[in-house]
Subunit: 238 residues, 2 copies
């Protein structure tokens, strides 16, 4: 039953993490140290570490070292009343959100279609990154019709939540209209933004939110770290 060298190393490290002998934030021994400890070549050590990084258990940082991730996988519920903060905060994590970029742009085609706007209409674009317990879990762009929500970004920042910002425009409630998601490999830049290994996949979520009468309010494209989240959907009527 003796398997691969690198699989054995991976399994050993996995049990070390699960048993708590290696705990969140800990730095692993360096590659040369692991080579010595396991009595194998560097390739095998690196292959094991790479696999664990892909599973989200480790983060490998060039020049610094390799660290154990604190990854209680988040649960994100998608439904008609999808709300980011209400979703994550009850799980006992600290949610923080940071504005990366904002501005007015002419809507790309898929955005103008989703929002039922004329091609090239002005939209308010903003890019945010969301962290749970200071670990980045997702980042992405959202688009609002500039005519209807001219200063959306400012209000969102002042009020601290999307729900409140929308309400400030006199819209009491909004609903998730459609969602699509797929998995792919992260680009180098996405991996850096999410502070994850380049080989960890990401889940791309496209969403459209609408007011109760069905008018589209906003659309978004959010990139989630696949290792850090589980999505659930309830299809009950509510």
């Amino acid at each position: 039953m003796t398997k691969n060298t690198w699989t054995q190393i991976k399994d050993q490290l996995t049990t070390d993490i699960r048993s708590g002998r290696l705990s969140a934030g800990d730095q692993l021994p360096t590659e040369p140290q692991l080579v010595a400890r396991f009595g194998v070549g560097r390739h095998s050590v690196r292959k094991a570490l790479e696999a664990l990084a892909r599973e989200g258990k480790l983060s490998i940082e060039q020049g610094r070292g390799t660290f154990v991730n604190a990854t209680p996988r988040l649960t994100y519920q998608i439904g008609k009343r999808t709300r980011l903060r209400r979703n994550l905060i009850p799980q006992g994590v600290t949610v923080s959100s940071q504005l990366l970029d904002a501005g007015r742009i002419h809507a790309p085609e898929n955005v103008s279609q989703s929002l039922h706007l004329d091609p090239g209409a002005l939209v308010v674009h903003s890019q945010r990154i969301t962290s749970a317990n200071d670990v980045p879990v997702a980042f992405g762009s959202s688009y609002y019709c500039a005519a209807r929500f001219p200063d959306f970004v400012e209000r969102r920042d002042t009020l601290g939540s999307t729900t409140e910002a929308i309400r400030s425009y006199g819209i009491a409630d909004y609903f998730r209209k459609s969602t699509s998601m797929h998995s792919r490999t992260a680009s180098a830049e996405e991996a850096r933004t999410l502070r994850q290994h380049p080989d960890v996949p990401v889940i791309v979520v496209h969403a459209v939110d609408a007011s109760p009468d069905g008018t589209p309010l906003s659309c978004s494209r959010v990139i989630w770290s696949a290792a850090r989240v589980t999505f659930t959907m309830e299809h009950s009527d509510d």
Copy 2:
């Protein structure tokens, strides 16, 4: 702007695939041939091939060769009326489904909970693999209460679809009650079943179906090849 050796090789092969110089089903040159052609070491070639396999563009088979995948990404719509065949067939693909295993077992805890059965109650378990255009896209297990659907597997096989089998028990319609999904790396066995490289991620979908009055009928756990599918959800009332 000269990047990595292996990234350049990957990009070159990607454009070859996109431009049609390499088309679906084609066998790539062998590793030694690629080494000669690009004038690089085998490590670099393998790293490029591995990355492309993770993206689902190639399938690498030990002892046979490396082949270009025919992967028009499927779209799978999840909603209250989720139906596998009705979902895929309109996309112009040939859907085939093969029974891998079937039998009666005592329900594992999560199954008995999902189906509102007593712990250890008998359930009909079956494991199927689903292929689109003869490429495996998903496989998984489904569980039906044995008391209510004693010969479900036989009927499903005779009638050729789950919807028909359920109807044969006098249940005119059924609905998706809940869905949860997350991404993780495939085990070696899962990768083999899906004929994909071990490093390609999979998406695990847990679902519960119920009759119109809300009584759970079945639950399932299906493992999708992450590179071969996009999930969409409509949250309209329908």
